[in-house]
């Protein structure tokens, strides 16, 4: 499989007035197309910074970042915006939907910034993929947490990105709803979308094929989850998701 993301000795230093914070201290990582990878670590380990850099929201202070073979370091602001728009999808813990816009409009935002003139159908298709086509005209405030997160996922995938970056996507949801959200990620992954999941929950992290553990701005472990553990975690997730549906 081809390499999609390549980090070489990446450092990130934040200047906070007089002191500076060394958030990443030489991280090297390579992620292939179609992988499902979890990044874990305690808070302050640098995983959020890592997310910002992988998501082209931030540039490394030092080191190289190649995305799909392109040197991100040398990109201009608007080129970065274009990569975020075309090749990346974000899912956040707090959903981060626009409160005044309907579900459909929220999903349309990336198409809007792609300067597309017609986007109703694509947005509706994305909603259909997360099973919420009948909620198109609802405002986020009229929806449950799980539904909001599914709309956020629809927004992330509407431009057919290569990678979906999810930052604690189940952090604000109960375990059943969380499992349903995870099932959507698994389905996306099956279709060939690369998933990068940042989480500190071990039973969520274990559902990935590969786990990267961070501490103090460094990668301390990077391993493939063994087949059996992975399959068990997946089955458990499926079970949890189904239970909730039965309850309803």
């Amino acid at each position: 499989m081809s390499t999609l993301i390549q980090l070489n000795d990446v450092h990130k230093i934040y200047n906070m007035g007089l002191s500076s914070v060394h958030a990443l201290r030489g991280v090297s990582l390579s992620i292939s197309q179609g992988e499902f990878i979890s990044i874990t670590g305690a808070s302050g380990s640098g995983k959020s910074t890592m997310m910002g850099i992988l998501g082209c929201l931030d540039k490394p202070t030092k080191g190289e970042y190649y995305f799909d073979g392109q040197p991100v370091n040398q990109f201009s602001e608007s080129q970065l915006a274009k990569v975020r728009n075309q090749s990346l999808g974000f899912v956040f813990q707090m959903f981060n939907l626009l409160p005044r816009a309907s579900a459909l409009e929220n999903v349309s935002v990336p198409l809007f910034y792609a300067r597309r003139t017609r986007y109703h159908n694509d947005a509706l298709n994305a909603l259909r993929m997360v099973g919420l086509q009948d909620r198109a005209t609802h405002k986020p405030t009229e929806l449950s947490g799980g539904e909001r997160q599914r709309i956020a996922i629809a927004r992330a995938i509407v431009n057919n990105p290569k990678v979906v970056l999810a930052d604690e996507p189940t952090g604000n949801l109960d375990t059943h709803i969380g499992a349903q959200i995870m099932m959507i990620f698994h389905e996306l992954n099956k279709k060939g979308v690369t998933i990068v999941l940042v989480t500190h929950e071990p039973d969520i992290a274990i559902q990935a094929e590969r786990i990267v553990k961070m501490r103090d701005g460094k990668i301390i472990e990077d391993f493939i989850v063994d087949e059996k553990t992975h399959r068990e975690a997946l089955e458990q997730c499926q079970q949890l998701a189904k239970e909730k549906i039965a309850e309803e």
Binding site: A81, K82, F92, N96, Y113
Partner: protein, 404 residues
């Protein structure tokens, strides 16, 4: 298309904070209202004055008596102009083609039981030509009637209507100050000329008016007609020089007469309009600055409130310029709404002013006032939105997303 959507988004954001947006725009509303009202009142007054000026002819000069002075001291008032002066002006001033000496007083005009208080104008045959004021019925008096101080009169349109109704007044005798005058003509309907209501005036030979009616020894004014509009200023110089000589006014001494022309009237009026304009535009300027600050303030609050939204928009692919455009669209939408409401208020305000002044001032809303109002509002919106929008566009997306 893209920018249309940006505008839609902006309008939605404003609608969700309708009251706040409206309050923010009050300064702009007042400023724009002041601009529109000022332009409307000034335009209305300008039209009024221009009409008055036009009605008395653009190449007409009026010479009026000033204070008689001796050795720098004022010794008398209004008896400095004579019929001879009027004749001399035509003879000696090449830029003047004709003059009409005038005496003006009031008297009661009677026809049997009907009577009317009229202005009585004594003048010569040049008067209707200079003022482009035609006889509607009958004729004007002639030179021999002036020479013989004849008791003949030409009635103003309204006077004829009042005293004779529908019948013809020609050949009838009316009494002015108890003296019998034969009606030889009726003037056309003219309304006002300069600021005089000529329809309510009667015209008699100047000699008759001076000697037989009022006992005047000097004339009230002299109308002089220059060859054309361009030569009025030359005519003015020639008249001034001639009359100074005739009245034996030493150099450096002030004249005992004045010359009044359209340019002068216009100049005087424009001075006043300028002062009026400065007052109004200062109010407008101050309000717009205050209004701009109001909008900037609300936009800054809005940017802070929506930090997270800005982060999300950036994360899904908004460029910095897109964010800038969005907030500029918001600030200019607010101020354009302010421009609209302000224009309406300004139009209403100018009509209220016109009403209060009992139509002394007239309101006329020129298109340029509305265009100016909107332009000014739009520019205020852009300028006051620039800093908040720039601030929004320069947010760090990572921090914006983390903002609580």
């Amino acid at each position: 298309m893209f920018y249309l959507r940006i505008l839609q988004t902006a309008i939605r954001a404003l609608k969700s904070n309708a009251l706040r947006s409206l309050l923010a725009t009050i300064g702009v509303i007042i400023g724009v209202a002041a601009v529109v009202a000022a332009m409307s009142i000034i335009e209305g007054a300008t039209r009024e004055v221009l009409n008055a000026i036009k009605s008395f002819g653009s190449n007409v000069l009026i010479i009026y008596p000033g204070a008689a002075r001796r050795a720098g001291r004022q010794i008398g008032t209004v008896n400095t102009l004579s019929i001879a002066d009027a004749d001399a002006i035509v003879d000696k001033c090449p830029a003047v083609i004709r003059t009409a000496p005038e005496v003006l007083s009031g008297a009661q005009v009677k026809f049997y039981s009907k009577n009317m208080n009229c202005a009585v104008l004594g003048t010569t045959t040049a008067y209707p030509l200079i003022r482009d004021y035609k006889v509607a019925e009958g004729r004007f008096f002639n030179n021999s009637e002036i020479k013989t101080e004849a008791y003949v009169v030409v009635l103003g349109y309204k006077v004829a209507k009042e005293l004779f109704g529908r019948g013809t007044p020609l050949g009838f005798v009316v009494k002015i100050r108890g003296k019998p005058f034969t009606v030889v003509g009726v003037m056309e309907k003219k309304g006002t000329m300069g600021f005089l209501r000529v329809d309510q005036q009667v015209i008699v030979p100047i000699t008759t008016a001076m000697k037989r009616l009022f006992g005047f020894r000097s004339v009230s004014s002299i109308s002089a007609q220059a060859i054309d509009t361009k030569s009025t200023s030359i005519a003015r110089k020639q008249i001034k020089a001639l009359l100074r000589k005739r009245h034996k006014i030493p150099p450096g001494e002030k004249e005992d007469f004045g010359i009044f022309s359209q340019e002068q009237l216009l100049k005087g009026f424009q001075e006043q309009a300028k002062i009026m304009g400065i007052v109004f535009y200062s109010i407008a300027g101050i309000s717009l600055v205050v209004g701009g600050i109001g909008i900037m303030n609300i936009m800054l609050v809005s940017v802070t409130e929506r930090t997270r939204e800005i982060g999300v928009r950036m994360a899904v692919g908004a460029r910095r310029f897109d964010i800038l455009a969005q907030f500029l669209a918001e600030s200019s939408s607010i101020s354009l709404v302010g421009g609209l409401l302000g224009s309406l208020l300004g139009v209403a305000f100018s009509h209220i002013i016109a009403n209060i002044s009992a139509n002394l001032l007239k309101a006329y809303v020129p298109n340029s006032a509305i265009i100016t109002a909107f332009t000014v509002a739009f520019i205020t919106g852009i300028i006051s939105g620039l800093y908040p929008a720039f601030k929004a566009s320069q947010l760090d997306p990572v921090e914006a997303l983390r903002y609580e």
